[in-house]
């Protein structure tokens, strides 16, 4: 009790000291002297999903993220996002996850160049950086940007971003961060489990990323890439596992391009990406993780704001959308890999997103997933013990998303 009382007192003291302001207050605090401002905000999503083949349903508070930022002066700011997934975290229980999604300090070097240091998300794809649930259609993030680009992908490092004054509309970013961990790669999840997430990740190998983003009229175009080592081991360990040691040893390469049309009534998104792991055979020999040499994926989404036809003067949206996704998580496998047709997938997601006011989205969608047949060589518990696998399955999803 005493600890709790002290904690509350400290919190109150800090609140008075920092004078927590809303963003609106921040705007009113003055333009030239807008320093020493603390911002709080949040976003999250909740979803109910019904699985057609299994006949089961799941209700989940997918995530709630608390944002805390502080402007120390006109040139130095602090940003952080703490994320709680699946509503709760209990000791010794399988379930939720509490993690820092970002925590970095930004230095405004000039009006066009910004330096960031800490745990931050790189500009790769659309969702990785713009992952707030009110910014995409459908209850789930595009699957290509979960399985091929492992959003949200954050690592510790240093980044520079900015914009061109010679070609207004052109933005750029580069970053150097700690690399992936090939020892954590898992069959069926690509490079996702190899992310460090800022949790005692290996810094003996690094990843370099860069992106060009261009706005013109209602269009947005982006190309981005990543190249990094995935063997964060000592030389002795790497040698014993016959993996390449060094900053870029046992490399992973990711390339991505996307384009968006953001019209008043019509919105279009297309994205394509590919991941190459040339030393996949060595990774498999060392860790038996059935890592592929190549993965790729793409999607196209068409959205139409119906509300702009019904009541054009009102500031709300009712977006009907359809998104088609195709991905292959073992597009190329090494000689010691096993092909898994269930990782060749297509998704068709169609639904509605209702935005009664900016910051709130009510979502309803139907998702049809189609995959190849299961490879019996990968069955750990063969028939009749194995659970049935459905190459076609649909889910009905209803959800609510918010951000402020």
């Amino acid at each position: 009790m005493r600890c709790l009382a002290i904690a509350i007192a400290l919190l109150l003291f800090n609140a008075v000291q920092a004078q927590v302001l809303t963003k609106e207050d921040s705007l009113n605090a003055g333009l030239v002297r807008s320093d020493r401002t603390t911002l709080v905000s949040a976003y999250g999503e909740v979803k109910v999903a019904y699985d057609q083949q299994l006949g089961t349903g799941e209700a989940n508070l997918t995530r709630n993220v608390l944002f805390l930022g502080h402007r120390f002066n006109s040139r130095i700011s602090f940003f952080s996002e703490m994320e709680l997934e699946n509503a709760s975290v209990e000791g010794g229980q399988v379930g939720g996850e509490l993690s820092m999604e970002q925590l970095f300090v930004k230095f405004d070097l000039t009006k066009d160049i910004y330096l960031t240091g800490g745990l931050f998300i790189t500009r790769l794809g659309i969702i990785n950086e713009n992952h707030l649930p009110t910014t995409f259609n459908g209850n789930d993030r595009p699957y290509v940007e979960q399985f091929i680009i492992p959003s949200t992908w954050r690592e510790i490092g240093v980044g520079l971003y900015g914009r061109s004054t010679r070609l207004p509309g052109l933005n750029w970013s580069v970053a150097v961060q700690n690399g992936l961990n090939a020892g954590a790669f898992q069959h069926g999840t690509g490079i996702r489990e190899g992310r460090g997430d800022g949790a005692k990740a290996s810094a003996a190998n690094i990843g370099v990323s860069g992106a060009l983003l261009y706005y013109t009229g209602d269009f947005r175009f982006q190309g981005s890439g990543y190249y990094g080592g995935s063997a964060g081991l000592s030389q002795r360990e790497a040698d014993s596992l016959q993996l390449d040691y060094g900053l870029f040893g046992t490399p992973v390469r990711l390339l991505e391009a996307n384009a968006q049309y953001l019209g008043e009534k019509l919105r279009v998104k297309v994205l394509a990406t590919q991941v190459d792991i040339p030393d996949a055979a060595r990774i498999n020999r060392a860790y038996a993780s059935n890592t592929p040499e190549r993965m790729f994926g793409a999607y196209a989404e068409l959205g139409c704001d119906l509300w702009s036809f019904i009541r054009p003067t009102e500031k709300r949206d009712l977006i009907a959308f359809i998104r088609c996704e195709a991905l292959d998580m073992n597009a190329a496998i090494p000689a010691n890999g096993i092909d898994d047709p269930t990782l060749e997938r297509t998704y068709v997601v169609a639904g509605l997103t209702y935005v009664p006011t900016v910051g709130i989205s009510v979502k309803a969608d139907y998702t049809l997933r189609t995959t190849g047949e299961r490879n019996p060589s990968l069955d750990i518990n063969p028939y009749p013990q194995a659970l049935p696998y459905f190459t076609d399955n649909g889910s009905i999803n209803i959800g609510l998303a918010y951000s402020f």
Binding site: L39, Y261, V270, V358
Partner: protein, 141 residues
């Protein structure tokens, strides 16, 4: 065509479409001129000659952390917006049709209203008027 070929073709198709639309768009792009101006901390003065080649100008002053977009509207009125996103104070990129936050995807219309989140608050225009051969922007709201 087997599944793998179909997936590969789909991905290449999307990449080609994105690239093609990009090239087509770039050929017709119009850039906004950047004008460096002096500020006394309370106002910005922009010469009217800055609008000689268009109706939009980006004004930059050393005392301001962010640029200011100044627009000449079809009816002759003037409007100016501070290019700071109301979501997380990131700098905004202005195009001929709107304002975009490269960091988190917020979009604003040219009147400052929110077109797409995560920003929820509009950008408030500065009071602006004409004095002789200059456009005067009052920075205090």
């Amino acid at each position: 065509m087997d599944r793998r070929d179909f997936l590969r073709s789909s991905c290449l198709g999307c990449a080609g479409l994105a690239f093609g639309v990009g090239v087509l768009s770039l050929t017709g792009c119009a850039s906004l001129p950047l004008v460096k101006v002096v500020s006394d901390g309370r106002t910005l003065s922009i010469p009217l000659t800055a609008f000689a080649e268009g109706t939009q100008v980006i004004a930059r002053a050393s005392k301001l952390s962010y640029d200011v977009l100044v627009m000449k509207l079809p009816n002759g009125d003037l409007r100016s917006l501070y290019l700071r996103c109301t979501h997380e104070d990131q700098p905004l990129t202005a195009t001929a049709t709107g304002l975009h936050c490269p960091s988190h995807g917020s979009r604003f219309a040219l009147d400052g209203s929110v077109e797409e989140g995560p920003a929820t608050k509009p950008i408030r225009p500065f009071p602006v008027h004409r004095e002789g051969e200059f456009v005067i922007i009052e920075l205090t709201t």
